[in-house]
Symmetry: C2
Subunit: 340 residues, 2 copies
């Protein structure tokens, strides 16, 4: 196989222990022998075997990242946030995506055992109890985004879905809209449900009747939902989409039917994906720092990790259950007929 520590030791005329010492700068080593070992190691292009090392140290400096998907700007942003925060702290990323059901999730988790120090899990469509059962008890984990039900014993970083939806809906109401329809995200998705609740709360708060059309967070789903609304008796004055992708799909579909946005109907999104700025009309939406979501979660996880290794052995496993919420901010652009 590859060149091992033993080979370096042999050629340098020392024991493997000494080589290990200079490699990890643990323990004192004579300057002369250190130099000799470093030279031999370089000549042999020796690289320590990560698996062997983490087997004994039980540390991998790797974080497992579990996402439902890798498609689109949303996840791209999440990963970017995670990656930046992880790199900054010296951690690597073992990424796995597309886990719809429990069996898949379970398989991935199994394969990650022993290869990661902690887990970042985004799983908006898996029930919290299932998650709780499937997640290895010994592995610190941080949940990203909302889940169905409460996950205990884990950090949790979510975004203010309900608050954001409420804000954008109220803005429309203040602009004079009275007939608003929500193009909802997938029913099984917790984030989507919270957004819908925010929408409904805002309408009910204004004494209005909330209407909802089902959708699925995709552009196509947005288009279909919009057309369903369009085909019904009366066109509302505003469409509140559950995310930017749906909003864009809706606008495109309506445009083909000769409906103009925002002149004939206002349409808003959620997420503030980069594309929304370039789109015509520029999308009124809710901004949440998706990369911050990933970064925060990573920061928490690494903190937990270092605490665990500090409280090494002592069963001081502090209860990790804490939730942090990334704020949501209204971004008014053209698609709602803003005057500015």
């Amino acid at each position: 196989m590859s060149v091992t520590i033993r080979e370096v030791a042999r050629q340098a005329g020392v024991s493997v222990a000494t080589v290990s010492r200079v490699l990890n700068s643990s323990g004192p080593v004579n300057d002369g022998t250190r130099a000799r070992i470093e030279r031999v190691a370089a000549e042999l292009r020796y690289v320590p075997n990560g698996a062997a090392r983490s087997l004994i140290t039980s540390r991998t400096t790797t974080l497992g990242v579990i996402l439902p998907d890798l498609h689109g700007e949303f996840f791209s942003e999440v990963i970017r946030g995670i990656d930046g925060a992880a790199r900054q702290r010296g951690y690597h990323l073992l990424v796995s995506s597309s886990h719809s059901d429990r069996a898949e999730l379970d398989a991935v988790l199994r394969s990650m055992n022993g290869r990661v120090d902690g887990l970042l899990v985004m799983s908006p469509h898996v029930d919290a109890r299932v998650l709780q059962q499937v997640l290895p008890a010994k592995l610190p984990a941080v949940i990203l985004g909302s889940t169905t039900g409460e996950v205990l014993a884990h950090w949790h970083v979510t975004m203010d879905n309900a608050g954001g939806a409420r804000q954008i809906t109220q803005h429309l109401i203040e602009m004079g809209h009275r007939q608003l329809v929500h193009l909802a995200g997938p029913e099984a998705n917790a984030d989507a449900r919270e957004r819908q609740q925010g929408f409904q709360a805002a309408l009910q708060g204004a004494g209005l009747n909330p209407q909802v059309v089902p959708g699925d967070f995709t552009e196509r789903g947005g288009a279909e939902a919009a057309l369903r609304v369009f085909d019904s008796a009366e066109l509302p004055t505003a469409l509140v989409a559950a995310n930017d992708s749906m909003a864009i799909g809706a606008i495109l579909a309506l445009r083909e039917r000769g409906v103009r946005v925002p002149e004939d109907v206002a349409v808003t999104g959620f997420d503030d994906l980069p594309i929304g700025r370039y789109f015509t009309p520029a999308l009124t939406t809710v901004h949440v720092s998706i990369d911050a979501l990933g970064a925060q979660a990573t920061a928490h996880l690494v903190t937990a990790l270092t605490q665990v290794s500090a409280a090494n052995g002592s069963a001081a496993a502090a209860s990790f259950s804490t939730t942090e919420t990334i704020p949501a901010r209204l971004v008014v652009r053209m698609s709602c007929g803003a005057t500015r």
Copy 2:
């Protein structure tokens, strides 16, 4: 620590060897004992330790992915392609990004040793010789995208940068343009250089004088390059940007100066990012299946891997040096003033 195979063996009243046999379905085991072992393993929620396993099998079923960045749609697409192809073949992804210089690259490679079976490397700004030196000789690797100079002894999946640039430039020439300026990508980037060469070749082929303004693949860079052109004596009739981001930056910047696209000047991109379709004016660009790039590279790598493990030990390490090129296709939309 966690529950080990030994514990399962003890509680099932068998030896670890037998447990290992049922876990990997290697070797014959009595149906009764198999059932008992499976039951105990499930009860104990036993999960084999990946590090230990790959230490002995010297297989990780993990691919190392090294990218220069994770930002933006381009890399999002690359990863998606890789992820899909890898999952399909049962491989996981150890991702690492943002490696500008040799030292960083080296560090990452070291840390991946023993944790991955092969490497997918995209490193457009690192010289091929450096890459050659830094890449572990024992680790099969596939290079994504162009590099500066020839990398031998490795698979190589590139896209037809020069051909695509030539196509789009010729299209503009056929439309009657005579004054074209190229908004170039980063000098150190091999893909960018090839695109520039394609542009120049097309112009020279038509007996025209190629003009080039430096840039850096970013939107901001595109804006600055466009303004530099704008501020010079005469505005050309067409701007050929090195990628979509630069094209978009250029269009936005020009618009602020009151220059209309495509009426006053045609602007084209390269990559065919999703955003180009939604942008106004819709971007004329060159389509390359970026996800296919990732997927192909992954497919090749896995093939190489299985061959290596098949030719196990026998020094039949076939020369891997082969290059595949993902084709480029002209996509005519509005930003070049197309009549359709």
